[in-house]
């Protein structure tokens, strides 16, 4: 008889907003390379989009950590854009595409949750994934 084990995977990331703002100012194409159309539409309608972009970038990195892939040392890793933060009502949700989605499936990720916050110079994201493993 097989049993199902539930395991939690957690990732967290903190972004220094002024540093991220400087990057976006020097690399204007960065938003299109890192963020989906929906993410940009959400952030760009706000009076100050940068902290929201920073929080979403933190969520992408937190998701990579939760997936056990660690931080991305290659610059604009296409996996980052494949990790999308979407709004449902007032709450953010994580949607995975491409390689992150394939990797999550391989690990048996059944559900995930993301939480974002920012205040002043810092933006933070926490991602929890639940895996179901048969044994």
């Amino acid at each position: 008889m097989s049993t199902t084990h539930t395991r939690l995977r957690h990732g967290i990331d903190l972004v220094y907003v002024p540093k991220f703002a400087d990057l976006l100012a020097r690399q204007p194409e960065l938003t299109a390379r890192l963020f989906t159309d929906a993410e940009r539409a959400y952030c760009d309608r706000l009076p100050n989009p940068v902290p929201h972009y920073a929080a979403r970038f933190a969520a992408k990195e937190a998701a990579l950590k939760a997936l056990g892939l660690g931080i991305s040392p290659t610059g604009v890793d296409p996996k980052l854009k494949d990790i999308e933060v979407v709004r449902r009502g007032t709450a953010p949700h994580l949607t995975l595409h491409g390689k992150p989605a394939e990797h999550a499936q391989r690990l048996g990720v059944a559900d995930s949750t993301v939480s974002l916050t920012h205040d002043g110079d810092h933006a933070l994201a926490s991602v929890i994934m639940v895996t179901k493993e048969a044994s």
């Binding site: 690399q27 660690g70 991305s72 040392p73 610059g75 604009v76 296409p78 390689k99 391989r106």
Partner: protein, 189 residues
């Protein structure tokens, strides 16, 4: 030598400068074999900056994907990382070819341990491999002479157009297939 106009010494110098500026540390204190993450304290945002600076300086595009991602894309899902998030024997062997100094790389380590093997030296080697592909002649005007005013960015000696190199992702993919043909590191690929 990377090509006759851009030396490895010049590349090392620019890598140190990019790291020093981004991380706000002394360039002279940076060892080429130090882990950029574990020893120099870089975060993912820092890599966005470091790579961008080097791409601007040399007029190149560095690989945007990790070797492990390229292996899975080229040779199939599960060839580099197993269901337990550990790297396969084939991936470990390939990583040791790319990072010969990284003794921590072995089959069975977790995938999230791999980014720590990136060093100033490995980034300089990545730059060097790209600019070694300077074409014999300018694709725009066919002139067979190149020049560089600053020993970093190369331009055609005839029409003045900046040299165009294959990007790092393209070169990595070619290298994976060459290594697989030569060494058969991935048995089921």
């Amino acid at each position: 030598m990377a090509n006759s106009l851009v030396t490895r010494e010049r590349i090392d110098q620019e890598v140190r400068a990019a790291l020093a500026t981004t991380l706000r540390i002394d360039a002279n204190g940076i060892g080429m074999e130090q882990s950029i993450i574990n020893d120099l304290g870089a975060t993912s945002i820092d890599f966005l900056d470091i790579n961008f600076r080097l791409e601007q300086v040399f007029g190149i595009r560095l690989a945007s994907q990790l070797l492990l991602d390229h292996v899975e894309e080229e040779l199939g899902e599960g060839t580099a990382i197993d269901r337990d998030n550990k790297i396969t024997a084939g991936a470990a062997a390939l990583l040791r070819e790319q990072f010969p100094e990284a003794e921590s790389i072995k089959a069975g380590i977790y995938a999230d341990e791999v980014p720590a093997v990136v060093t100033p030296g490995s980034i300089a080697t990545a730059v060097e491999k790209i600019i070694a592909h300077l074409p014999d002649a300018c694709p725009a005007c066919s002139a067979a002479s190149w020049k560089s005013d600053d020993s970093t960015k190369v331009a055609c000696g005839g029409c003045g157009k900046d040299a165009e190199y294959p990007d790092g992702d393209e070169l990595t993919k070619r290298w994976i297939h060459d290594m697989q043909r030569e060494k058969q590191l991935f048995a089921n690929a």
